[in-house]
């Protein structure tokens, strides 16, 4: 029996092939396959090619179920840069791959937990829309947290 292959397209129009039985770990793809057989190319308009290559690498892993948790953890650990992890988490969100999403978010949480406000704003691209007065009010209330 020949294995069926699907084609995924990143937002920069690069094409990636993946075997269908591996691709359906993504709930989003599984639903597409169910609906129309997904014969054509599946576009992923929010995922760039670098991130998609990582996702494909993850989906292609050959892991026994009992080792899987450790593998996912190691997989995100090796890609420990916050921007990469955020892209990965967003791709996992769009593709609905819960394990990967949770592991990437856990890693980001671990990296930012000791960050100052300025550091977290920079790392997670947050625009500071608080007035100095508002910021001071929260700082005073939660002094112990700073």
């Amino acid at each position: 029996m020949s294995k069926k292959t699907l084609t995924l397209m990143s937002k920069d129009k690069q094409l990636f092939n993946i075997e269908e039985h591996l691709a359906v770990q993504s709930v989003t793809i599984r639903n597409m396959v169910k609906e129309d057989g997904a014969s054509s190319v599946i576009p992923l308009p929010r995922v760039d090619s670098e991130t998609l290559a990582l996702v494909i690498e993850y989906l292609n892993r050959q892991q026994a179920p009992e080792e899987d948790e450790d593998y996912v953890k190691k997989f995100v650990d090796e890609r420990g840069e916050i921007p990469t992890l955020l892209e990965l988490a967003q791709a996992a969100l769009d593709l609905d791959i819960k394990k990967l999403m949770d592991a990437a978010c856990m890693k980001v949480a671990d990296l930012i937990k000791d960050f100052t406000l300025e550091e977290v704003r920079e790392a997670l691209r947050i625009e500071n829309d608080r007035t100095p007065e508002e910021e001071k009010a929260i700082r005073d209330e939660f002094q112990w947290a700073f």
Binding site: F115, L124, E135
Partner: protein, 365 residues
């Protein structure tokens, strides 16, 4: 710049994995982050189950068994506290504390949210009139009422016994029970002075001096009546009674009783006590074990302190295994009875689920 906005689902997922300190700090990051963190759905889905442990002079500790994390909480007061007792847990993550500022000093009862560390004062209690260093007072919480039993000295000339007072969280009013009752007698004491609430009744282990025996004091919160009932044989016999705590197992009253390398759990069923579980702990080859059962949590989990190695042991009664949590050296887990020579006793730990509920919203009389 590409992809400026990180989807809320990703941000919420990241935030849900943070402990209290970064979480509260990041409320300041932006208005949007603050709204994500304070969203009731977010905190509910995060639902971190924590154990709150008071420890004499050193403070209150929040222990997260799942993430194996322990954090020292600052008391909501500027000064050192001699004693802190957790007398109740509200289902919404707020606890009721009684703080004693110095030895035999005045006591204050407050509501406290261990996540936000917000407080609300409920009332002051007079200093105990008895000058004996006994477990002078018993506390309990059930059905929105705080019950305080003052274990004052018996005064033969005035034929006055112990006083029981009830404070309603809803109305802020004080009442007294319908029946008066002699608790303990002249030099009786409470073994466990924070009561266990179960099916409308509060329970304390007390030593009844006149009868030279241990029994269980019961307060019917609805009828406001005090009675007494027998404990299991092991308690009545007075063997090792100081290392006994009351708890709940399968919705029934139970009592754990420590022995040298483990403990038994007695359960009350159809007014009969029976020994239903025995749990063995690591055996010390060199030296004497110093185990103390601290509290019985839901789902058959029993927290035990190892006084020698300063470890907290979570025993899973039904699955028959235990987890050891080594405390940092600065955290001295002091026994409930001050037998470490510290003289400061250790209140019973409680379990709570972190929430952002404000104590001021609970009590605003």
């Amino acid at each position: 710049m590409e992809n400026t906005n990180i989807p809320d689902d990703v941000v919420s997922n990241i935030l849900s994995r943070l402990s209290a300190k970064p979480l509260m700090r990041f409320r300041c990051a932006s208005k949007h982050w603050n709204s994500l963190i304070t969203d009731p759905g977010f905190i509910n889905s995060r639902s971190r189950r924590m154990i709150l442990m008071p420890s004499g002079l050193t403070g209150l500790y929040a222990y997260d068994p799942k993430h194996r994390d322990i954090v020292k909480l600052t008391y909501p007061f500027e000064h050192q506290i001699y004693k802190c007792k957790i007398i109740g847990t509200l289902s919404n993550g707020v606890v009721i504390l009684v703080l004693e500022k110095h030895y035999f000093g005045p006591r204050t009862c407050i509501l406290y949210n261990p996540l936000t560390r917000a407080t609300k004062k409920l009332f002051d209690l007079p200093r105990p009139c008895c000058d004996a260093d006994a477990e002078e007072c018993a506390y309990g919480f059930g059905q929105g009422n705080i019950i305080i039993i003052n274990h004052e000295c018996y005064n033969p000339s005035r034929n006055e016994h112990n006083k029981c007072n009830i404070f309603s969280l809803k109305t802020g009013a004080w009442t007294v029970p319908k029946t008066t009752f002699t608790v303990g007698g002249e030099s009786g004491f409470f073994v466990d002075n924070v009561g266990l609430f179960l099916n409308g009744f509060l329970h304390w282990i007390e030593y009844v001096c006149i009868e030279h025996m241990f029994s269980i004091l019961v307060f019917d919160v609805t009828e406001m009546v005090l009675t007494r009932m027998d404990g299991p044989r092991v308690l009545v016999d007075g063997y090792n009674q100081k290392s006994s705590v009351l708890g709940m197992l399968h919705g029934r009253l139970c009592l754990s009783n420590m022995w040298s390398n483990g403990f038994d759990v007695w359960v009350k069923e159809h007014s009969e006590w029976s020994k239903q579980y025995s749990f063995a702990l690591p055996f010390y080859q060199n030296g004497c074990p110093n185990y103390l059962d601290l509290c019985i949590l839901e789902e058959g989990r029993i927290l035990v302190k190892d006084g020698v190695s300063n470890q907290i042991i979570m025993c899973h009664l039904f699955e028959d295994y235990y987890d050891i949590f080594k405390c940092a050296s600065e955290i001295r887990v002091i026994s409930r009875y001050g037998i470490d020579g510290s003289g400061h006793d250790f209140g019973k730990p409680v379990e709570y689920v972190e929430s952002l509920v404000s104590p001021s919203d609970i009590y605003h009389v």
